[in-house]
Symmetry: C2
Subunit: 245 residues, 2 copies
């Protein structure tokens, strides 16, 4: 990661056109550049803890992180998977409701809370983009609720893979994944289980079931190919356009 280059200019930033700053013009970007700061985290490192203060709001620039809650007896449920351009933290609330943990090495573009909250108030382009992004996250969270509440283990795994493939192609600017899809999973089996409300064993078993059904082929534990994307979508019971704008 070339930090110097990131610091120099928002124009070279890989998430310039998709993060909370996406709608900003040159002048507004200049303001952001004055107050932003970067920080990197190692895999496994904590970016925030449930119940504790979070005094920076950030955009995730590179890497991957999970947002989750752990119940007192150790049960863990993930509520979000953070990829580049995703926003971390809630304006107006200093206490995080969730644990946020780096999955791979993560770089954040950070703003101090009070400064960012002023920016939201005074910069309509930021406020508007933040609203759009929050509405998108709300859709994603509700879609997650449908999956967690009513889909079978097999459908959960299939829809997780479909969703990951969609987000992966969203980054590379293509509208829709084209078969065969080569998919890299940033998450361990345990992390996938935490996202889907399953156990690690069930995740493993369902993946081998999907493989035996010919819906995926497994390269190694973190990489699979999807020979026919539409078939996998059908398997997910996926009838919507979650990632539509």
């Amino acid at each position: 990661m070339n930090m110097a280059r990131l610091k120099d200019s928002c124009k070279a930033c890989p998430i310039r056109h998709s993060a909370v700053c996406a709608e900003c013009d040159t002048d507004e970007l200049a303001i952001l550049e004055q107050v932003k700061s970067y920080r990197t985290y190692a895999p496994g490192e904590s970016l925030a803890s449930a119940g504790e203060k979070l005094d920076h709001l950030s955009s995730l620039v590179t890497g991957c992180a999970t947002m989750s809650r752990t119940l007192e007896d150790g049960r863990r449920q993930a509520v979000g998977l953070l990829l580049p351009a995703d926003f971390i933290g809630r304006p107006g609330r200093a206490i995080s409701l969730y644990d946020i943990e780096a999955v791979s090495e993560v770089t954040l573009c950070r703003f101090e809370r009070v400064q960012f909250e002023r920016l939201v108030r005074e910069t309509p382009h930021i406020a508007a983009r933040l609203l759009t992004m929050t509405l998108d996250e709300l859709d994603a969270a509700r879609e997650m609720a449908v999956t967690l509440g009513r889909r079978t283990a097999r459908e959960k795994i299939a829809s997780f893979l479909v969703s990951m493939a969609r987000r992966q192609t969203a980054v590379t600017k293509r509208a829709v994944p084209v078969s065969p899809v080569l998919l890299h999973l940033p998450l361990s089996r345990q992390a996938i289980a935490d996202h889907l409300g399953l156990t690690i064993e069930t995740v493993s078993r369902q993946l081998t079931q999907l493989r035996k059904s010919g819906l995926i082929s497994v390269i190694d534990s973190r990489d699979i190919t999807i020979p026919d994307f539409e078939s996998l979508q059908l398997e997910a019971g996926d009838d919507d356009a979650t990632d539509a704008p």
Copy 2:
């Protein structure tokens, strides 16, 4: 419902200080009054359908509605329970992702989509309030995901009752429910099951279990009392402050 009075003035509106218009000043309210219209729906009536156009954005003024998705084979998962002051529809997207159905008689305060989207752009007080409300909904949706993914049937029922009690007292302006809590459930057993990812039979059984444990007492199928609110919270595995501002 005295429609004439509702139409006359936003000042008499029961959700004046909690809906999307909460932060508006007198001038802004005057603009809203020009473009708003009311509509009532009978119990069971549809306010929106997944995949279909929704050309009004609304605030729910009185009554109760559910937001849900039904899979092709009939499985249904609710993703939200709409109570007075809640907002319906998404600025920027004309197609509803969910079915919205009146549970009791519902009154909406409606705005035509294009007009409202202009208001959001030109009225910072509305944009700001909408952002806050969306962030609150996002928190609620994520909390729901934790419940759906990792809590047992008993915990799901307990946390549902706790959440309903909190929202009920939020309306009456008290900060926190005081024991004993008298709670009215606007939902049928089937609707509760749809919210919690359970069957109607499991909902019924868990309610009688909670009753036998002395955590609730059942007046009739829609009304219960909670003798000790804190005990029920413990039963829910509830360690957070979901409804905090």
